[in-house]
């Protein structure tokens, strides 16, 4: 597999409690796992179990309260090498679609021309060619989500954190996006963490699946997806795929 000697990502007993208005909400409790370089991890778990929180901790946005967290090998720059697509599209309403995608590139000071080229390519890739000059409010929900996905990739980050990036997409577009993100991942050696509610999607996309429990995010299961590469959509009809999906459903308590 792609994983190198020491893990790319390593969590040991990471936890996080929100304290607001006198309330305490334990969002993540004792999250521990390793992820090798170039792995594709799918995070699955019930609503409110702390997936988004965990992702924000990985993105360096929330300090965690306890435990140890290590990201990247030597030469990994958390400021340049992480790309995030949040659960909400979070587009800047005063910027056109293309300029929204350009945002991380601008901030990192990447060469403008090349970055614009890449932004256009990514927009085409997510099926939004011709919408570059629109403002966010002119887009449908699914279109906004795809802009946000393109933005997460524009600076070619080594670690890509995706929080339900396909939640607002129809089945067909979603399948296409699954294939695209896998293609990008496979060709670039990126490490990807994908939060998703689609069990089939998780198993199809990922090389590892982590299932979280309700309440504070705690690992209920974590296993490697040993399916052949490259994967075709048809793989979903194989018994091996079915068994892995069944395992996730079981852990989630779905009959």
């Amino acid at each position: 597999m792609r994983a190198s000697a020491e893990p790319f990502l390593s969590l040991r007993g990471v936890s996080k409690t929100y304290r607001t208005g006198g309330r305490e909400t334990v969002a993540v409790s004792d999250a521990s796992f390793d992820l090798g370089d170039g792995e594709f991890l799918a995070l699955v778990g019930p609503s409110g179990c702390g997936k988004s929180t965990l992702l924000k901790i990985l993105a360096g946005l929330h300090p965690h309260d306890g435990g140890e967290l290590r990201i990247g090998h030597a030469g990994f720059d958390p400021g340049r090498d992480i790309g995030v697509a949040f659960q909400a599209p979070l587009l800047l309403k005063w910027r056109r679609v293309l300029d929204n995608v350009m945002l991380p590139a601008e901030i990192l000071g990447l060469p403008t021309k090349a970055a614009r080229e890449r932004a256009r390519d990514l927009l085409a890739l997510v099926g939004l060619e011709g919408n570059e000059d629109k403002y966010p409010y002119e887009l449908s929900g699914g279109m906004q989500q795809r802009v946000s996905l393109a933005r997460a990739l524009v600076h070619d980050p080594k670690l890509v954190l995706l929080d339900e990036p396909f939640g607002a997409l129809d089945a067909l577009t979603r399948e296409r996006m699954n294939l695209e993100i896998r293609r990008i991942w496979a060709s670039s050696g990126k490490t990807v963490v994908l939060v998703t509610h689609g069990v089939q999607e998780a198993v199809f996309c990922a090389t590892q699946v982590a299932v979280l429990t309700a309440g504070p995010a705690r690992m209920a299961d974590h296993f490697a997806v040993d399916l052949p590469e490259p994967r075709e959509l048809a793989i979903r009809n194989t018994p091996e795929f079915g068994a892995l999906a069944r395992r996730v459903y079981d852990r989630l308590g779905i009959a």
Binding site: K56, A59, G60, L61, P78, G79, R80, I82, G83, V84, F86, A88, L90, L92, K93, W94, L103, P104, E106, I107, L108, Y135, Y137, H155
Partner: protein
């Protein structure tokens, strides 16, 4: 056509005020030593002893200069306050307190320390106009959606980048409402400054006219001050149109 339609109500409203003025001073019985008629007022433009153009330019220079300073320093202060919370906690209340001291009463101190003329009047204008800028901008910066800040924090945006790319654009509606208020205050500040000490400018002309009860000259000066103000305000509105992305949903 659209523009004409759009501005017609405003033009009509202004004309109504002019008509009311004309009526009050002719049939309405308002004596001319209190308020002269429009014609008489316009005739004051011909007064040979007053170089109107020069006074207008001086007042405009003071108002525009003080306003520009107020916007520049006001925004800068607001940004510093957002960046350094202890600075805000120490200086913001003091700023409020100092602003609450009536400037009109401080006039003697102003002259003793600054003297009189263009520069001190720009300073007075600045002092009076900058407060709304600080207040609205600081508020606008504070109201930025925290999620949007997260967005650029993932790529470790510098404070300056966060300001330029996220905070400033998203707080422009606040900044511009502050600038509109400041434009009005700048005009008031300039006139106060010219009242306190000056050798020229429309405030100077107003005071002279008050002394000689030359009401046509006084009202003409007031009209010109107002026109200077309308120009400044108009520039703010034009800049706003240019800079703030028209959100088609809002109109």
């Amino acid at each position: 056509m659209g523009a004409l339609r759009r501005h017609a109500p405003a033009v009509l409203a202004h004309l109504a005020v002019l008509a009311l003025w004309a009526w009050a001073t002719s049939w309405g019985g308002v004596p001319r030593f209190i308020l002269p008629g429009p014609l008489e007022t316009i005739r004051a433009l011909g007064a040979p002893q007053i170089d109107w153009w020069r006074h207008v330019l001086i007042t405009a220079a003071e108002a525009f200069g003080g306003f520009a300073l107020a916007v520049g320093i006001g925004v800068m202060l607001a940004v510093l306050f957002t960046w350094f919370a202890p600075l805000r906690r120490a200086l913001m209340p003091l700023l409020v307190t100092l602003n609450l001291i009536p400037k009109v009463a401080l006039a003697p101190l102003f002259i003793v320390w600054l003297g009189y003329g263009l520069v001190p009047n720009i300073a007075i204008t600045f002092v009076i106009a900058f407060f709304p800028i600080v207040i609205t901008t600081a508020r606008g910066l504070a109201e930025v959606e925290p999620e949007l800040l997260d967005l650029v924090r993932t790529v470790r945006a510098t404070r300056w980048q966060v300001f330029r790319k996220i905070q400033l654009p998203s707080s422009l509606p606040y900044l511009f409402s502050g600038m509109r208020v400041a434009a009005v205050l700048a005009i008031a500040g300039t006139i106060v400054g010219e009242f306190v000490g000056s050798e020229a400018g429309l405030g100077f002309v107003i005071m002279s006219a008050q002394g000689t009860l030359d009401t046509p000259v006084m009202v003409m000066s007031l009209i010109l001050v107002t026109l200077v103000g309308v120009t400044l305000y108009g520039l703010v509105v034009a800049l706003e149109r240019l800079v703030v992305t028209e959100d088609a949903r809002l109109r």
